[in-house]
Structure formats: C-alpha cells, structure tokens
Symmetry: C2
Subunit: 309 residues, 2 copies
C-alpha cells in the first residue's frame, strides 16, 4: 500500500505537464548522472514524440534555448554536473523542471517534483526517478505501474533464478556482459551499472542490431571469451530475436536469455530492471561486498572539491 | 595530393547545406550502423547548434516529420537497417540527405553525397564518411582537414608507440578498454569497434564523468582487473583531467594515456582515430588476423536474408 500512496503523491506534483503544451517546446533535454541519467536513458527509448536529448556532463549543447524543456534529475539534489548544467540552461531561458529528493535542486526549477523518500541509495530509487517521467508524458498509466509493482513483488518473493546466475558468475569469476535491443538498451546499461555498484565487478552493456556490425567479429575470434558471462535481455521484435539466435550459433557463444514478463512496456522495463538488481545483489553478497559501500565515489567527490576547478 | 582532390570533390557535392537554411528544420537525425554510425556519433559531439539525434536501428522515432533534416549514411549504400529507416523518414516528409559510395542509397535522398572511392573496407572510409558532415555544417574548415591529413601522414611514417601498446596487449592477451570524455566519446567507441573488427578482440569504451558514478567502484573492487588494458584518451578540460588522475590513484589502476595532438578539434579527432586504428591493426597482425576478414558479418546478413522478416 505504501507504493500506491507514494504513486499518488508523485502524481499530484506533476505540474510541469499540466501548465505547458507540446507546442511550447521543440525538444526535451534531460540532465542526470549515474542512476538519474539511466532514468533519462530508459525514458528516451519509450517516449519518441519529441526529441529527447541526454546530458551526462557539465556542459550543455548550444541549441538549448527558450524552446527547450530542460529536466534535471538528481536523487540527492546535489549532483555537481547536473546542477552546473541546469544553471546554464536557466541562463539560456529554458523551461526547467527538476526531479529530486531535496538538496539544492529541489527549488531550482519552474516546476519541482519531490521524491517522497530521501533515505535510499540513489540506485535503489530508480522507480521514483523514472515514474514522474513516465506518468507526466503519459508513457505509462497508473494501472501499468500498479501491475509492474505486482510483478516486482513476485520477484521479491522468488528470485532463485537470479541467484543461480550470480552463483555461476561468482564460481567462474566471470565478467558479466549484458546485450539487449531497443527499447531495453537503457535497462542493459542499468544492469552494467548495478554490477559495478552492488558487486564492484566490471561489466559492460551493448545492443543489437548495432553490435552485429563490429562486436560479432570479436565474439567469433577473441581470446579469453570464457571470462565473460553473456546475458541477453528479451526482445519485442521477431527480426531481432532471429538475429540474436543466429549470432549465438555463428559465433559459438552461449547466451543466457532473460525472458520478458508483463503486458505493457512499463511492466517489462521494471521487471527487467528488478531482475538485474537481484543478480547483482546476489553476486555482491557472494563476493562479500556491502551494496551500500561506495566510498570510492565519495572520496573522489571530496578530492575534487579540495581544488576548485 | 590525392587527398586534396578528393576533398574538393566532396566539397562540390555538399548541396544539402546550400539549399536549406537552419530555420527550415528543428533537428538533425542521422541514421547509420557500424562505422557509418560512428561518423554520426563523432559529429554529434562537435556540432551542437541543433539537436542531433542518432539512429542505429530499423525504426525511426515518432517525432520525425517535415521539420527534420534526415541524413542517412552507409558506405556500401546497401545497409538494411539504414535503408529501412530512411524509407520511413521519407514517408514522414523529412528532408533526406545521403552519404554513400553507391548502392541503393545514392539516389534515395533529396541530396546525395557520393564518396569518391568504393574500394575500401567501410571502416577504412571513416574520413570520407565524416568529412561531408564536418564541412557542410562548418565544424571544420578545409584548412583543418589539410592539417589533420598532415598529422595522419606523420603517424603513417611512425606508429611505433601504437605498436608498443599492441605488443603489450598481445603479450598478456588483454581486453582493451578505452576511456575518454566529450568531445572524444565517439572516438573511444571507434577504438572499441576497431579492436573488434581488425583484431577480433573484445573491447569496450566508456567515458568520464559518467563512469565516476558507477564503474569507478568496479575499478576499485573487481576481480580479474589485470585482464584489462586501460587506454585513456586526452581531455580538453582541466577538471576532467584532474578527475582522471584522481581515479587512477584512488582505484589503483594503471592508465595508458594517449596524448592529444593538433590545434583544432578536427585535427585532434582525426589523430586519435588514426592512432587507435594503428593499435588495433598491429594487434590484429600479431594475432594473425586478416583485417579484411569479416565473414561473420557477411554470414549473418546471408542468413537473415534467407528468411524474410
């Protein structure tokens, strides 16, 4: 029930879509780093009515102006790169919306969505970072989100399959690779980031059909292929599924398929995210890592702050 | 001198920038796979006056309409994904420009740039794929390109440093990783693709400051880190250079820095591309690979054609 209340709370705040019309802006620019940026990546694949341009850096592109809807996302509300980018967008006259749980960002926008809970690790707040985007641009209905929530609860009750993947990876000390196709590329990148953050293990994501034009040759001819553990997330499209199947055979690679679950794209996206979360969580546990330990990121921030840029 | 003639030949064809004005379109969409897509990626970082949206798939986003300048790039002119995307853009009323060396694509656009030579491997034609974009959007001057060409010739005469990297990678059978920062992210991805294609070796690219938010933790805590060979391409910005230096120390990783060379961004981009080309070429040679062998990609195309999608 907590989830449903939080959903209502978020929905009530989505002012930035009530007060402006599609014709008021030419493009959406989303600024965010790490998990906040991943929310933008996932949204970009699901919403294509207007160009969505992503920024994960300090600098904003020249085209940003009064015809831009600029959405700054930062769970903490204090991410340096995103604050810098948002301030620059403000100077260019862009319409600013923010999504955060507080910090400097929560009062910076023309509209500000406040995430109800500030006590998560940023990566655990993925749902909260993503939902305001999905709801306000009408990518997802409230019904979709409720059903997604039910699917996630199932996975909370039984994630043995995720644990088996983690056990296999841990046993061989493999480097997990995550392949996907649109609209699940952002999800594959989320998996990669979760392996990095939860398990402190190297990991990379890539996607079809682009990888057929280069990486396929490495799959067929590389040394040390047995070091990698290949995940392939389910695809919506028959021609992509056939491409994946042919690639596995032609390159003699063993893919671990992760099946789609759910009716709507919203459900599928949240299910795949949560599935990957569990694989990396179990791997981290096996490896003896604390998922909450990210002192390296904090150390870097401190060191960077020591010397003004 | 051949290069200068080819440059003139390309320049004479850049009709699509003479006949339309910036105000005629709201965004540029570039479709291209593999090397052709990489030309788009590199261009997107260098040209930010209008939003540049990249497509490396069959499907085009909903927003494509008569306000879109749609540029389809395919060296062969017969890339299935790009042809499909361009046909869909045509139906939406987009203005179409093409860059190819022939094939079905070369007559498909409202404007068509013909690359003077069709006898390269697509990836060897990177300069030709990129130059029409750089020249027509005035990112580069003819002078920049001439100077870049001189830099590349120097590297043709002496690429011992590239060979030393390749020797070290081959000796340890390492997986090369390539880190960069904007505006050289596309170049880092080019390196990755070249390792895949020339040496048939797995490789991945990533970039600062985004990687500070996740991958940094893996750099500090992963198993099997000694399997990787870390390249870091030079950065334009002092705060990014400091971030790189701190990351190396905090995570106890040994980075192999590749210094920037040249005055303009154009020169730097072409120099870094060519440098990476040589590293992967030498690695492929050591490994006994034929850079021209990409039968896996051709086999996949044939198999896909067998069964209509």
């Amino acid at each position: 029930m907590e989830f449903l209340e939080e959903l209502r709370f978020l929905k009530e705040q989505l002012g930035f879509r009530e007060t402006i019309k599609d014709t008021d802006y030419e493009q959406v620019v989303i600024a965010g780093m790490g998990s906040s940026g991943i929310a933008g990546r996932i949204f970009q694949e699901l919403y294509t009515k207007k160009p969505v341009f992503l920024i994960d850096d300090y600098r904003i592109p020249e085209f940003v102006n009064s015809k831009t809807l600029f959405i700054a996302i930062s769970y903490s509300g204090n991410t340096e790169e995103t604050l810098t980018a948002a301030a620059a967008a403000r100077e260019r006259g862009a319409r600013i919306a923010t999504i955060s749980s507080g910090g400097k960002m929560c009062k910076l926008g023309d509209e500000n969505v406040l995430i109800p809970r500030a006590d998560f690790q940023p990566r655990a707040a993925m749902g909260y970072l993503l939902m305001p985007l999905l709801l306000s641009f009408k990518v997802s209905t409230e019904e979709d989100l409720k059903r997604a929530y039910a699917l996630l609860s199932e996975l909370d009750d039984d994630n043995e399959e995720c644990k088996r993947h983690a056990d296999a990876i841990w046993k061989a000390k493999s480097i997990p690779l995550v392949f996907a196709a649109s609209p699940f590329r952002g999800v594959a990148y989320r998996w990669k980031a979760q392996f990095n953050e939860n398990a402190k293990v190297m990991s990379y994501a890539n996607y079809f059909p682009e990888l057929s034009h280069n990486e396929t040759m490495a799959l067929a001819g590389t040394y040390k292929k047995d070091m990698f553990y290949f995940f392939v997330l389910g695809s919506e499209y028959a021609n992509i599924r056939r491409r994946i199947e042919l690639t596995e055979g032609l390159t003699d690679t063993s893919f671990h398929d992760v099946a789609l679950k759910g009716r709507s794209l919203t459900e599928k996206v949240f299910y795949l995210i949560h599935y990957g979360d569990y694989v990396s969580y179990h791997l981290g546990k096996q490896k003896g890592e604390d998922p909450a330990d990210w002192h390296i990121v904090e150390d870097l921030k401190k060191k960077l702050a020591e010397k003004p840029q």
